[in-house]
C-alpha cells in the first residue's frame, strides 16, 4: 500500500484503472468524499427522525394530506431521477475521455437540477401564500427544514457542477478534473437517494394518511 501523497501530473498510459483513480491524491479525495456522504446520511437521518416524530403535530395548520400537490411532487421526483441518470452519463463519458460528452451531460444534469429547484421553490411559495409557513406548526417546521435542506444541497450541487464545467473546458479530462466530475456525481446520486426517501416518507405517506 502506497503511503505518500505524491503524484506527477499527467497520467501513465495503459493504467487499467479509471482516470480519476490514477493519482493517489485524487483517489484519496474520492474515499474522503464517500466518508462525507456517510456523515451527510446521518444529517438527513436526524432530520427524517425529527420529521417522523413531528408529522402529526400540525397544530392549527394543515396536514400533509391537505397540503401536498400530487402532480407537483411526481414531477419533481421524475426530474430528479432523470438527472441522476444524466449525471451517470457524464461519468460514463468522462471515463471514455470525452470532454464534450462529459460537459454536455453535466449541463443537462444542472438544467434538470435547476428545474427541480424551481419547482420546489414554487411549491414552497405556494404553501407560504396560503399561510402554511415554518412558523405555523411543528409539522411544517420539520417539513420545510427537511425538504429545504435537500433543496439547498441540490442548489449547491448545481453551482458546483458549473464550476467543474468551466474547469473541464480549461484543463480537459485529467485525473484532477475527472475526480471532480466523479465526486460531484456521487453527491448528485446521493441526493437522488435522499429524495426517494423524502418522496416516500414525506409526500407519499403524507397523502396516504
Amino acid at each position: 500500500m502506497a503511503a505518500i501523497v505524491e503524484h506527477t501530473h499527467g497520467r501513465v498510459e495503459h493504467d487499467p484503472r479509471p482516470v480519476e483513480y490514477t493519482v493517489k491524491d485524487d483517489s484519496l479525495k474520492i474515499f474522503g468524499f464517500w466518508l462525507f456522504l456517510a456523515t451527510d446520511m446521518i444529517l438527513f437521518a436526524t432530520l427524517f427522525a425529527t420529521f417522523v416524530v413531528l408529522r402529526t403535530h400540525v397544530a392549527t395548520g394543515p396536514s400533509g394530506h391537505q397540503l401536498f400537490d400530487v402532480q407537483g411532487f411526481i414531477e419533481e421526483t421524475f426530474i430528479l431521477l432523470t438527472s441522476s441518470f444524466t449525471g451517470g452519463m457524464s461519468t460514463f463519458f468522462m471515463r471514455r475521455g470525452s470532454v464534450r460528452g462529459t460537459v454536455g451531460w453535466l449541463l443537462v444534469t444542472a438544467v434538470l437540477g435547476a428545474s427541480f429547484v424551481t419547482l420546489e421553490i414554487t411549491e414552497f411559495l405556494h404553501y407560504v401564500s396560503i399561510g402554511a409557513t415554518m412558523q405555523t406548526s411543528a409539522f411544517l417546521s420539520a417539513f420545510f427544514t427537511l425538504v429545504g435542506t435537500h433543496g439547498a444541497h441540490v442548489s449547491l450541487g448545481i453551482v458546483w457542477m458549473l464550476a467543474i464545467v468551466i474547469q473541464l473546458f480549461r484543463y480537459g479530462i485529467t485525473p484532477a478534473t475527472a475526480r471532480r466530475v466523479f465526486i460531484v456525481n456521487l453527491y448528485w446520486h446521493f441526493l437522488d437517494v435522499v429524495w426517494v426517501f423524502i418522496f416516500t416518507v414525506v409526500y407519499l405517506t403524507g397523502v396516504m394518511m
Binding site: 500500500m1 502506497a2 503511503a3 505518500i4 501523497v5 505524491e6 503524484h7 491524491d25 484519496l28 479525495k29 474515499f31 474522503g32 466518508l35 462525507f36 456517510a38 456523515t39 451527510d40 446521518i42 444529517l43 436526524t46 432530520l47 427522525a49 425529527t50 416524530v53 413531528l54 403535530h57 400540525v58 397544530a59 392549527t60 395548520g61 415554518m134 412558523q135 405555523t136 406548526s137 411543528a138 409539522f139 417546521s141 420539520a142 420545510f144 427544514t145 453551482v159 458546483w160 464550476a163 467543474i164 468551466i166 474547469q167 484543463y171 484532477a176 471532480r180
Partner: protein, 654 residues
C-alpha cells in the same frame, strides 16, 4: 416575563465588576500580544509559519496551546463555582452569573478543551505512527483547526459582548428557547458549537482517510499502534455522531431566529426531541474524548513497562465494540423522562454492556505491567493514577446505568462526581500522560520531572478531595446546578472540602504550567529522538521531526516496529540511505483556511445578533473561498533531493 438585563440586546453587559475585570484583562492581554509581536517583528513569521500552515505537526501544536488555554479558562469557571458553593447562602455570584459560568465551564471543557486536546494528539502522533508525511487532506485539516479556533473565539466573546449562554452545557429546550431565554447568549452557544462541529466532522473524515489509505507499506491494520486504532474508533464515532448534533443545534437556532416550532411548547413543538438528538451525539461524544485516552494509555503502559501490550487483539476489538455499542445507549441520559419500561430496560442493559469491553481493557493494561519493568516517568504516573480513578468512575457509571437507581441519582451530585471522575480521571489524565509522553517529540525537550511530580500530586489529591465528597452529597440529595443551597441540610462540610480539592487542582495546573515554562529554559534536550526507549515509528525520527516527517517511507514488518529493530540491533534500517531519497511532494501553505475561519466567525456573529447582512456576507465569502479553492490546481510543491539530504545530514541521520 421578567428577564435579566441580558434581554435588552445591548452589546456590552454592564454593571458587573467581575465582567469589567474580565474585559480589562482580555483587552490587556490582547494589547500585550500585539505589542510583543510588533516589537520582535514577528507578524510575518506568525502568518507564514503558523496561521497559514497546513503541516499536521504545527496544527497539532496550535490545538494543544488552545486546549491548555481553554483548560485554564474553564478551570477558572470551576473555581468560581466552587468558591460560591463553599458555604451555604453565599453571594459571591448571583444566579445569573452562576448559570452562565456553569454553562460555559461545561461547554468549553467538552468542545474547546477535550476536543482540541484529542485533535492535537491525533495531529501530532498519527501520521508519525503510521509512516505518513501528512494527513490525507492537509488543507482541510487547517480548515478544521480554524473552524475550531473561531468557534472558540465566538463563544468566549459572549463573555464580553452580549452575555454568555446560561441554560447549561446541554442547553435543553424549551429553557434554551427564545421564549424563556431571549438574550443573545444561547445564539452564541448554538453558533460557536455549530462552527466548531463542522470542523470536527472534517477532522473525522480526514483521519479515517489518513489511517485507512496512507499507512506505510507493510503496516496492515493489525500491525497498527493502538493509539492509531483508538483514533480510528474515535473518528468512526465522530463522523456518525456529530451530524446529529449539527441538526439539533441548527433546529434550535431556527426556532430562535426564525420562529419555528421544533422545540417550543406551542404549535406542536416537542422539546424532548432536542434532548433526544442532543444525546444521540452526546453519549458517543463521551467515548470520542475517552477512546484516544485509551490509546494513549496503551502506548504508555507498554513503553514504560518495557513490554509488549497484553492482548492486542482484545484491545482493538474492545475499542471497536465500544464505538458501536456507545451509539445505542443515549436514552440513559433521560431515563426519568417517561421512556417507559421497555425503553428504559433496553438502554439500561445496553449501557451496562459497555462496561464489559471497558473492564477488559483495564485488565489488559494491568497485565501489560505484569512481568514488566515499570519506569515511573511522568506519562506512566498519570497512567497508573488513571486506573483506580477510572475503575471507581466506571463503577459508579454501572450504578447509574441501573435505571431505577438512576431515578435517584439523576441530576444529583452523585452524577456530577461520576462524570468528572470519567472526564478528568479518564480523559484529562490521559491527555496529561500524552502531553508528557509526546512533548519531546513535538518540541525537542523533555518536561521536567520534578515540577511534573508536584503537579501530579496536587492534581491527584485535589481530584479525590474535590469529587469523592460529591458522591456523598448526591446521596444526601443535593441537586446539581444550584447557585446556592440552604444551611442545615448537612451539605456544608462536604461542599467546603470539595472546594478545597478544586483549589488543589488549580494549584496543580499552575505548577504544571510552571513546569512547562521551566523546561523551556532548563529542560533536558532530546537529542536521540527516542527519550523513552519507545516502540513505535515516531520514536525512530529526530525530535522534532523534519517537516516532511520521513525522508524515505519505511517498510513495516512488525507491530512494534521500532522496538523490534532495536531488539535486533538493526535501528539503522530506519535511517534514510542517500540513494533512496527522492523529491518529496508536499502541500503548500494557504491563507484560505484561516480566511474561511474568519468568514464563519463573521457569519456566526451576524446570526447571533440577527444582523443578516453580515451573516449573508460571511456565508457568501465562504462559498467564494470554496470555489476559489476548487479552481486551484497547483496547491503543492516538491522538496528537491538536495534539500532533503541537507536537512537529514544536519540532523545527523545521513
Amino acid at each position: 416575563m421578567p428577564i435579566s438585563h441580558l434581554s435588552h440586546w445591548g452589546l456590552l453587559v454592564t454593571g458587573d465588576p467581575l465582567l469589567y475585570g474580565a474585559d480589562a484583562s482580555i483587552i490587556l492581554a490582547s494589547v500585550g500580544i500585539v505589542f510583543v509581536l510588533t516589537y520582535f517583528k514577528k507578524w510575518k513569521w506568525l502568518w507564514r509559519e503558523w496561521l497559514t500552515t497546513v503541516d499536521h505537526k504545527r496544527i497539532g501544536i496550535m490545538y494543544l496551546i488552545a486546549a491548555v488555554l481553554m483548560l485554564f479558562r474553564a478551570g477558572t469557571d470551576a473555581l468560581m463555582m466552587r468558591t460560591q458553593l463553599a458555604l451555604p447562602n453565599q453571594h459571591f455570584l448571583g444566579p445569573e452569573h452562576y448559570d452562565q459560568i456553569f454553562t460555559t465551564h461545561g461547554t468549553i471543557m467538552i468542545f474547546f478543551m477535550a476536543m482540541p486536546f484529542i485533535f492535537a494528539l491525533m495531529n501530532i502522533a498519527v501520521p508519525l505512527q503510521i509512516g505518513a508525511r501528512d494527513v490525507a487532506f492537509p488543507y482541510l485539516n487547517a480548515i478544521s483547526f480554524w473552524l475550531f479556533f473561531f468557534g472558540a473565539m465566538l463563544l468566549n466573546l459572549s463573555f464580553v459582548i452580549g452575555g454568555s449562554p446560561d441554560a447549561g452545557w446541554t442547553s435543553y429546550a424549551p429553557l434554551a428557547g427564545l421564549h424563556f431565554d431571549p438574550g443573545p447568549g444561547e445564539n452564541f452557544y448554538l453558533l460557536s458549537l455549530q462552527i466548531t462541529g463542522i470542523g470536527s466532522i472534517a477532522t473525522g473524515i480526514n483521519f479515517l482517510a489518513t489511517i485507512f489509505k496512507m499507512r506505510a507499506p507493510g503496516m496492515t491494520l493489525m500491525k497498527m499502534p493502538l493509539f492509531t486504532w483508538s483514533i480510528v474508533a474515535t473518528n468512526i464515532l465522530i463522523i456518525f455522531a456529530f451530524p446529529a448534533l449539527a441538526v439539533a443545534l441548527a433546529l434550535l437556532l431556527i426556532d430562535r431566529i426564525a420562529g419555528a416550532h421544533f422545540f417550543t411548547i406551542h404549535a406542536g413543538g416537542l422539546p424532548m426531541m432536542y434532548i433526544n438528538m442532543f444525546w444521540i451525539w452526546g453519549h458517543p461524544e463521551v467515548y470520542i474524548v475517552l477512546l484516544p485516552a485509551f490509546g494513549v494509555f496503551s502506548e504508555v503502559v507498554a513503553t514504560f513497562s518495557r513490554k509488549t501490550i497484553f492482548g492486542y487483539k482484545a484491545m482493538v476489538s474492545s475499542m471497536l465494540v465500544i464505538s458501536v455499542v456507545s451509539y445505542f445507549v443515549w436514552a440513559h441520559h433521560f431515563f426519568t423522562m417517561g421512556g417507559g419500561v421497555s425503553v428504559n430496560s433496553f438502554f439500561a442493559v445496553a449501557s451496562m454492556l459497555i462496561g464489559i469491553p471497558t473492564g477488559v481493557k483495564v485488565f489488559n493494561w494491568m497485565f501489560t505491567m505484569y512481568r514488566g519493568r515499570i519506569r515511573m516517568k511522568m506519562p506512566m504516573l498519570w497512567t497508573i493514577a488513571f486506573i483506580p480513578c477510572f475503575v471507581l468512575g466506571g463503577a459508579s457509571g454501572m450504578m447509574l446505568a441501573v435505571a431505577p437507581v438512576d431515578y435517584q441519582f439523576h441530576n444529583s451530585y452523585f452524577l456530577v462526581a461520576h462524570f468528572h471522575e470519567m472526564l478528568i480521571g479518564g480523559v484529562v489524565f490521559g491527555m496529561f500522560a500524552a502531553l508528557y509522553y509526546w512533548w519531546p517529540k513535538v518540541f525537542g525537550f523533555i518536561l521536567d520531572e520534578k515540577w511534573g511530580r508536584w503537579a501530579f500530586w496536587f492534581w491527584n489529591i485535589g481530584f479525590y478531595v474535590c469529587f469523592e465528597p460529591q458522591y456523598a452529597l448526591g446521596l444526601m440529595g443535593m441537586q446539581r446546578r444550584m447557585y446556592t443551597y440552604p444551611s442545615g441540610m448537612g451539605w456544608t462540610a462536604l461542599n467546603f472540602i470539595s472546594t478545597i480539592g478544586a483549589f488543589l487542582m488549580g494549584i496543580g495546573f499552575l505548577v504544571m504550567a510552571g513546569g512547562i515554562v521551566y523546561s523551556i529554559f532548563k529542560g533536558e534536550r532530546d537529542l536521540t529522538g527516542d527519550p523513552w526507549d519507545g516502540r513505535t515509528l515516531e520514536w525512530s525520527l529526530p525530535s522534532p521531526a523534519p517537516h516532511y516527517n520521513f525522508a524515505v517511507i519505511p517498510t513495516i514488518t512488525d507491530r512494534d516496529q521500532w522496538w523490534t529493530l532495536k531488539e535486533q540491533g538493526k535501528q539503522d534500517t530506519l535511517r534514510p540511505r542517500p540513494e533512496d531519497i527522492q523529491p518529496i511532494h508536499m502541500p503548500k501553505n494557504s491563507a484560505k483556511p484561516f480566511l474561511i475561519g474568519v468568514a464563519f466567525f463573521a457569519a456566526g456573529f451576524g446570526f447571533v445578533f440577527n444582523w443578516y447582512v453580515l451573516a449573508a456576507a460571511g456565508l457568501f465569502c465562504i462559498v467564494i473561498l470554496l470555489l476559489v479553492r476548487s479552481f486551484e490546481y497547483h496547491s503543492d510543491y516538491h522538496i528537491p533531493v538536495d534539500e532533503v539530504v541537507h536537512t537529514e545530514t544536519a540532523l545527523g541521520r545521513l
